[in-house]
């Protein structure tokens, strides 16, 4: 790989981000722990009646993963912003959108993928029918990258703000709602024995659009907030 | 109002109250902004007088 090419830059960035996460691999467990706690609270709140839990299982797993992802979003740019490397990234001659796409991909790999692996456990805690599990995992596999991409654009707008937690949630919520509607909708339809492909296809379409547009939007947003 | 008064009047009340607040809010903010501008001006002239 020739140094100085865009490909080299991207692979260096990916390598660096993965190394940084590996050095604090304990922290990578935080989203998983949070999701487990959120899901565990529901049987305590609603009573352990299996039929009650079964009805809300898919939705609760979705919301738990959504909230964990929201908390984890902050780590996407914060470290780089604080030590100045984010500014260097923005100033680099390589396409910023591509570099950000790499960052978002690594972020998804290290925060959302572990959640996906834990999702069957979460579903089991709420007595999700086993037949629905493949649909749930497919919906999550399509929804979590979409959430990461949309979330990245919103985090880019609030980068560097000290207490941006609530504001970020406010910005991200209207954009997350449609993803949640389609994702959880697919699972609930499958659970009721109805057709579930349509919402999954909508999620897929949204993901494809976001894969192309979100890094560009994220780059533009970053240029605005770092100006 | 055909028995629906309990719904119609609160709805119209919300309409009028919210728009009233919408009209008042800029006035209050204007007063605050003008006071801030005067404050900054006072501080700036005080600084330049002591220079």
């Amino acid at each position: 790989m020739k140094p100085g090419t865009t490909l080299a830059a991207c692979s260096a960035l990916i390598g660096r981000d993965l190394t940084l996460v590996w050095r604090r691999r304990g922290d990578a467990l935080n989203p998983i722990l949070f999701a487990l706690i959120v899901v565990a609270l529901f049987p305590f709140a609603l009573g352990p009646e299996p039929d009650n839990l079964r009805r809300i299982a898919a939705g609760v797993v979705f919301v738990a993963l959504l909230l964990s992802g929201l908390l984890a979003l902050d780590t996407l740019f914060r470290g780089d912003y604080e030590d100045g490397s984010l500014e260097q990234l923005v100033l680099s001659p390589h396409p910023l959108a591509l570099l950000l796409a790499c960052k978002i991909a690594v972020h998804w790999l290290t925060t959302a993928l572990p959640l996906l692996i834990v999702a069957p456990l979460l579903a089991e805690m709420l007595n999700l029918p086993h037949a629905v599990l493949p649909v749930l995992l497919t919906a999550l596999a399509l929804a979590t990258p979409l959430l990461s991409l949309i979330g990245a654009v919103c985090v880019a707008l609030t980068v560097g703000m000290r207490r941006s937690g609530m504001l970020l949630a406010l910005l991200v919520l209207p954009l997350y709602v449609p993803v949640l509607i389609f994702g959880a909708g697919a699972c609930n339809a499958a659970q009721a024995g109805l057709a579930f492909m349509a919402p999954l296809l909508w999620l897929g379409a949204g993901l494809v659009l976001a894969l192309v547009l979100a890094p560009l939007a994220c780059a533009a947003a970053l240029k605005i907030s770092l100006s | 109002m055909g028995g629906y008064g309990a719904y119609i009047w609160p709805a119209y009340a919300v309409f009028l109250v919210v728009l009233l607040l919408d009209a008042i809010a800029p006035r209050l903010r204007r007063r605050r902004v003008l006071a801030e501008i005067r404050g900054k001006l006072k501080r700036r002239t005080a600084r330049e007088a002591t220079r």
Partner: protein
Amino acid sequence: MNRLTLWFHKIGSPPTFYRIAGALAPWCFGIAIALGALALYGGLVLAPRDYQQGDAYRIIFIHVPCAWMSLFTYGFMAVNAFIALVWRIKLSEILAMASAPIGAAFTFITLVTGSIWGKPMWGTWWTWDARLTSELVLLFLYFGVIGLYAAIDDKRKAARAASFLALIGIVNVPIVHFSVNWWNTLHQGSTVRLMGPSKISGDMLWPLLTMALATHIWFFASLFARTRVGLLELEGGKDWARDVALADAARDETVTAHG
């Protein structure tokens, strides 16, 4: 440059727009209130009772115009947001940011009056159908724009960031509008059409359209008032803003001296 371009550039200058908006705002408020009063008289007194909904339908005269305004305002905000991001015109930045609270107010009224109307008609205060959910999402989008603008100290950068957010959310506006066509909703479909006859009787239509006009004019009145304050805030260090602030203080002094 030709006169039209010159006029356009002059309008965009903060002190000039401040003056023009200051002259127009009271008139717009007055006309809006007059038209609104006329529409309320037509809707509450003159219009006959509906054969299906009785008198409860009269909420339409505030619910529908506010719903139209919630969408119109977002569109207005988005256009100015686009201009602000692409051409960095200060006035557009302020116009976009000033529209957001007005839009939020109209959206809030729409949701609350709709909820109150829903209770006797549908038997429920709320339902998560496409129209209501997307309108609620619209309210959150407005809150997001307002919150982001308030959170950043540099007002020009804040306006650019919030404008960007507003443009991302624009996709929700057609969703709200077409939701009753695209999904099975509890909310009824459109009755008032732009082209062709509307499905509503004439003596109910005119108060509705009058109130729609009144709310549009109110929007501009409120926009002028808020834009004036926004321009003062943005241009606080400039001479014209300083002169306004001092004149305001002088006016207060003469009032207290005479009173």
